[in-house]
Subunit: 381 residues, 2 copies
């Protein structure tokens, strides 16, 4: 019987260690693969591709509310996506001129824009309804039409030929009628009045006897101060106060017949949009929707404060006489009828918009409007 | 010189293998830690941890608008997070009774809830302002106060002792005053009137001579049909129509003095909220904000249609006489004064709410309200 050989423990230990090493390493590889390639989760696909987008606006960099809200939107998307989608916001004229936003996004030289659809009326008359029209719907009514009344579907149809996907991106609420250095006591006082008032409202103003002029924002202050123009419409109390209007105009008129609830817009290049995975698309959409509300909330809370400051500086806050408003209204209906006759797409959107407006007006007469009246009646200020 | 001993290679190989094993294992641990605790990406934190949350509501499963919107919210979060946060929505009484939602989320037995803050007035009287109060603010005004007027900060303060994070989760818009099988021609007609009308409005109704009763939703139809009650307040046209009120009540009164713009609420367990990484928190917030607007938009677009259907079924849509509304208003001011005297937190929130309301009312008198009036004046329906 040979003497017993002592067992050599080393080889089994090595085998065990190698096996463990392979196991742990495999786990690491599986883990990594899951992260990179699209771990299927509840039928959704995820992806770790990074996107860097540019967004051009029609507002100066950090323009109060309109511009600052877009920066907030971009930050929110970056946080939500943990840096997978970084959107760099450019002010007007930084890389694209204000009036070039639509074309730049359409062509795909930038992925996104923020503007107001009625700026593009020369290109697409029907686009105006997606901002607002004189004597049209207020913010709450517009949102009802856009999101649950067929408005957004029509908007997509109107922008589709331009390779653009539109989305509501904020609302100003009812604006003011503007700043006047003359008193408007009747329709006659409009005669020959030179006013900065853009778009369809300018057309209506012209037909009412006034003279609508187009002056770039940068020259507006001097023009009104020196009497080159007699009046100007801008946004509303917050932005008008920042602009310095109280120093150069006597009267601040209401109501904002010309812009009763202007919806701002996001423009997205369709190809860029479709290149995003579903989860990032959903994040962008939620951030746009959040901003659509948040801008209105900022105006709601801020305009009341700004208006008081405007009053405190001695400005007269005055109401247009009824005959002036009636005149504007009557002309607006002629303008819409003419444009509808000339452009089938304008007509199609106008019909959807008007039908919704008539129905919501009837409902609001017994809800929002009647409640406002009642609240004032029980406790007169 | 002793004969040379052959080198035993085993121990160094084992050492090397152990070292490799430690290294690879460490990598795996770091990886895992990164997922859970914060893998730094572009300064943002991401994580692949999966969360499954339960959300309990005070509405029946798929209750029109109020319940269906919560399902939409949950789906949106799932898509945005690519399945990292899956929220299962439960209708009232499925796992938690409707009146147990606040406590269940507070205790952490579920992570989220959807309800209306005024349901919890017995526990926290100050909570009522975050839904609405009789003669309070409408939807647009409430959103201004909540998001940019200090309202949400106060809400967080009020809910903090309960380990709850609140967030606005929808709005009904101005409601209707309710369904009545009697005619209300003066304050005298309220005497002895048995009405299902909850909360502070019920208290006001009682002091005006009526008799507020609390009837579960499931028994409401029969109670009104058989005359056990004379009147009932529910939500607004969409939900009232679904409920079948047109078959059992003659008169549908307005305006909704008792609920001029009810904000719904999300309740989140604070511990659960803080366990979420930043990107998921941001997604949940954006989805809640989206829903806060979307619900109002659904009501805007749907109530006008439902009201027409209600009229078509022969229901009289009538307005409360001025003296009735004035009576409710005068009593409401007494109720608020009493509750403010009894509860410092109620007083604190009431002061913030009232101050904002007075200022926004003055502004809306020349913006939203005046525009509504002008639009009706130029084109009477």
């Amino acid at each position: 019987m040979p003497s017993p050989r002592p067992i050599n423990w080393y080889p089994p230990v090595i085998l065990l260690l190698v096996a463990l090493l392979v196991l742990v390493f495999s786990l690491l590889v599986i883990e990594k693969a899951g992260e990179r390639g699209g771990l299927s989760v509840s039928g959704e696909e995820t992806s770790q591709t990074r996107y860097r987008w540019s967004l051009v606006t029609t507002w100066p960099k950090n323009f109060p509310v309109l511009g600052t809200s877009v920066e907030t939107f971009a930050r929110q998307v970056e946080v939500m996506s943990a840096g997978r989608l970084v959107i760099h916001v450019y002010g007007a004229n930084e890389i694209v001129p204000a009036n070039g936003v639509f074309d730049a996004v359409s062509a795909g030289s930038v992925e996104m824009g923020h503007a107001a659809s009625y700026y593009w009326r020369g290109k697409v008359p029907a686009a105006q309804f997606f901002t607002t029209i004189p004597f049209g719907m207020n913010a709450q009514e517009s949102n009802g039409w856009l999101f649950h009344g067929g408005g957004l579907e029509l908007w997509r149809e109107v922008y589709a030929p331009f390779n653009l996907v539109p989305y509501p991106g904020g609302n100003t609420g009812v604006q003011m009628a503007g700043w006047f250095n003359r008193d408007i006591n009747s329709v006659n006082d409009l005669r020959g009045l030179k006013m900065r008032i853009p778009g369809m409202a300018g057309e209506i103003f012209n037909r009412a006897g006034g003279s609508a002029v187009n002056i770039p924002g940068g020259e507006l202050y001097t023009a009104l101060q020196t009497g080159v123009i007699d009046a100007a419409e801008w946004v509303g109390p917050i932005n008008d106060l920042t602009f310095g209007f109280p120093q150069i105009a006597r009267n601040y008129y209401y109501p904002g017949w010309q812009e009763p609830g202007s919806t701002l817009e996001f423009l997205i290049n369709k190809t860029a949009w479709e290149s995003l995975p579903k989860d990032l698309q959903s994040m962008v959409e939620a951030a746009m929707r959040s901003m659509n509300q948040d801008m209105l909330d900022q105006f709601t809370a801020g305009n009341m404060v700004a208006l008081q400051q405007i009053k405190d500086r001695g400005v007269n806050v005055r109401r247009f006489p009824d005959d002036v408003i009636q005149r504007f209204y009557d002309i607006s209906q002629q303008v819409y009828a003419e444009q509808a006759a000339a452009d089938p797409l304008f007509k199609k959107v106008y019909e959807s918009y008007s039908e919704f407006q008539e129905r919501i007006r009837a409902y609001n007469d017994i809800s929002e409007l009647d409640y406002f009246k009642v609240r004032d009646a029980v406790d007169p200020q």
